[in-house]
């Protein structure tokens, strides 16, 4: 019970930090930490696959993508977005809600219930014995992210030297 409360508090705190922090890099890392808590909660709710995927995709892979995107931007650059881009998110959200309300419910009802729980095993078993290949790919993604940051920040270092 205590662990459950700690995990839920951690999830809420880090999710809040992800929104509130103004430094994009720190916000991305806070989101990764929130995903880590969520992954552990999934695992404790007997969904080890969901837990492993949450940790590997959101905490690992998506964080690399965020850091890479932040690396592609420059400090102090003016962001001048077209009006269409500003409208894109609310329009997309409204469209998503409409489609979700109209289609997803009936669609989900058509998905047959699974005969039995497909996910078995402890966190370690799922991660190391059932989804081992994913770990190799994770190593690849993280390596790519590190190398990308090395490649994209190299000019800034040269500028400093000059």
């Amino acid at each position: 019970m205590v662990i459950q409360i700690i995990l839920l508090c951690g999830l809420v705190i880090f999710s809040g930090l992800a929104i509130l922090l103004k430094d994009l890099l720190k916000a991305a890392l806070a989101l990764a930490a929130a995903s880590l808590f969520l992954g552990i909660i999934f695992f404790r709710l007997s969904a080890p696959y969901a837990g492993v995927f949450e940790i590997s995709v959101v905490a690992g892979l998506i964080t690399v993508l965020f850091i890479l995107t932040i690396a592609l931007t420059r400090k102090g650059d003016e962001v001048t977005e077209a009006r269409l881009v500003k409208l894109a998110f609310p329009i997309f959200l409204i469209l998503f809600l409409i489609i979700d309300g109209l289609v997803m419910k009936s669609l989900l009802q058509k998905i047959p219930a699974l005969p039995s729980g497909p996910e078995r095993g402890t966190f370690g078993e799922v991660l190391w014995k059932q989804r081992t290949f994913d770990l190799v790919a994770q190593v690849g993604v993280i390596l790519a992210g590190v190398l990308a940051v090395l490649a994209l920040f190299r000019k800034k270092e040269e500028d400093k030297d000059e």
């Binding site: 047959p112 290949f133 790919a137 790519a144 490649a151």
Partner: protein, 492 residues
């Protein structure tokens, strides 16, 4: 060993930044090319076992403990691995001289190898979620490689590519999630069995639509092509060659058709839809290519058009159609790799890619002009070069399946292809030499050597078409066709 296709590039990539600290050029050049040469050699060694056994399944033990590292190699995978390794080796040879003015060779090669490891992994894994992960490995490396020049255009193109690619990955992941929710499994065989038992056709239809949107974006099929003409020309020439020659095929075409043929099953409606998408890509992109003045932009549109041919053949679903499409996939990878490398040579020699500024270069740079002509004629489908045979087989397969309309469009699009490639040749290499280019010299040794090797492959594959088709293409087509037979038996 099959795992070496993933492990060796990753290992070399991990050590390259360290090696780059004390050897800026020689060791990174040597290690990268040696690793890729080993992969080409390894894929050739695996031909015989695949020819005899059909499928090789390998499991890996880690410190005596059995872990779930399983790869399944059949004719189709091996064909893709060989194509990736061969074209990558030529591109990395070209990079030895080309990267001199970029600097930071070790970081470039490391990213390049991670991209190759991602593509090889994607080709080898028999699991939907692992496909997504390796797709991201290759993609993350490619975003950085597109932006490697760090100019405004490169960064903008990389950002656009990243944004659209993430949307593509999201669609693919969404579809994988729904399938996992329905079947409780991610392994190809188990998912296929699960889908057969469930028979949830409506939901499956939605999944297929998401897959087409996701992988269609990765393959840059019209109407999902907007990112490609910006991303491919902005990248350094070797990366343009990798993206156009290999990445769009592996992360788009391979992933889509592997899932359709080995997991979901091809239905007549799906076949017609994909054939229509392929044909539209073929024609629209060929027309758009005609109006381009930047060589690389023209080549980028040409890639979309040629991917249309491959999709048309694969979607037709007959053994001959699949074989023709796979053969065209190989030929296009080689020839488009060659043409993008050539465009890099032209830019290196003259400092421009604008066709209106070039002219008469043929006399000054005969190797670049000659290899460019071979690549252009091969893609356009002029006999006896390799591209002629693959296009002929696709058109024959269309006629055999009584799809006369598609066959006619394929022939007409081929004429358009020849038209815009001759435009490049005429504007850049033929005619009188402008005074500006009187002092230009041939591209450096390794750049010319890589172009010559790829041009030689285009010619030799065309001449020795029959044995190559039997050794490489037929086992690959049979492996895919077996997938169709299995799924057809379930009556999906």
């Amino acid at each position: 060993m099959v795992f070496s296709f993933i492990v060796i590039p990753l290992l070399v990539a991990a050590f390259l930044p360290l090696i780059g600290k004390f050897s800026k050029k020689l060791l990174p050049d040597l290690l990268t090319n040696a690793a890729l040469a080993f992969l080409v050699f390894n894929s050739i060694l695996l031909v015989k076992p695949i020819f005899n056994q059909g499928v090789i399944v390998q499991n890996l033990n880690w410190l005596g403990e059995k872990v779930n590292l399983q790869v399944a190699l059949d004719g189709f995978n091996l064909f893709m691995l060989f194509t990736i390794s061969l074209v990558s080796l030529c591109i990395s040879l070209f990079s030895i001289d080309y990267l001199e003015h970029y600097g930071h060779k070790s970081t470039f090669y490391a990213l390049f190898l991670v991209m190759i490891a991602g593509m090889n992994g994607l080709v080898l894994v028999p699991d939907l979620f692992s496909i997504y992960l390796f797709l991201e490995v290759a993609a993350v490396a490619s975003y950085a490689l597109v932006a490697f020049g760090l100019g405004y255009d490169e960064l903008e193109a990389s950002f656009k590519y990243l944004m659209l690619s993430v949307v593509a990955s999201a669609f693919a992941l969404l579809s994988i999630t729904i399938i996992f929710g329905m079947t409780g499994s991610l392994n190809f065989q188990a998912v296929a069995q699960g889908l057969q038992d469930l028979g949830a056709r409506t939901v499956l239809g939605v999944c297929v639509a998401f897959f087409i949107m996701g992988f269609g974006l990765k393959a840059a099929l019209v109407p999902f092509h907007a990112w490609l003409p910006d991303a491919h020309p902005s990248a350094p020439a070797p990366i343009s060659a990798m993206l156009s020659g290999l990445l769009i095929k592996v992360s788009g075409i391979y992933a889509l058709f592997r899932i359709i043929y080995s997991v979901i099953g091809m239905t007549p409606v799906l076949s017609q839809l994909l054939m229509a998408l392929g044909t539209v890509s073929m024609v629209v992109a060929a027309l758009l290519a005609l109006g381009q003045k930047d060589i690389k932009r023209m080549l980028a549109y040409s890639s979309i058009s040629q991917v249309g041919y491959i999709v048309l053949g694969l979607a037709l679903g007959t053994p001959l159609g699949i074989a023709g499409a796979l053969f065209h996939l190989f030929n296009h990878a080689v020839a488009k790799g060659l043409l993008f490398l050539n465009s890099g040579s032209i830019q290196h020699i003259t400092g421009t890619r604008n066709l209106d500024e070039l002219g008469g270069l043929g006399k000054m740079v005969p190797v670049t002009a000659g290899t460019n002509l071979v690549g252009a004629l091969s893609i356009a489908g002029v006999p006896p070069l390799a591209g002629f045979w693959s296009k002929l087989i696709i058109i024959m397969a269309l006629i055999q399946a009584r799809e006369f309309g598609y066959a006619l469009v394929a022939i007409l699009a081929s004429i358009l292809t020849l038209w815009y490639y001759l435009l490049i040749q005429r504007k850049a290499f033929f005619g009188r030499v402008s005074e500006k280019w009187l002092q230009v010299k041939e591209a450096p040794f390794w750049m010319s050597a890589a172009n010559l090797v790829l041009a030689l492959v285009c010619v030799l594959v065309g001449i020795f078409f029959t044995p190559i088709f039997k050794t490489w293409i037929s086992p690959a087509a049979e492996a895919l066709a077996r997938g169709i037979q299995q799924v057809l038996m379930w009556g999906l």
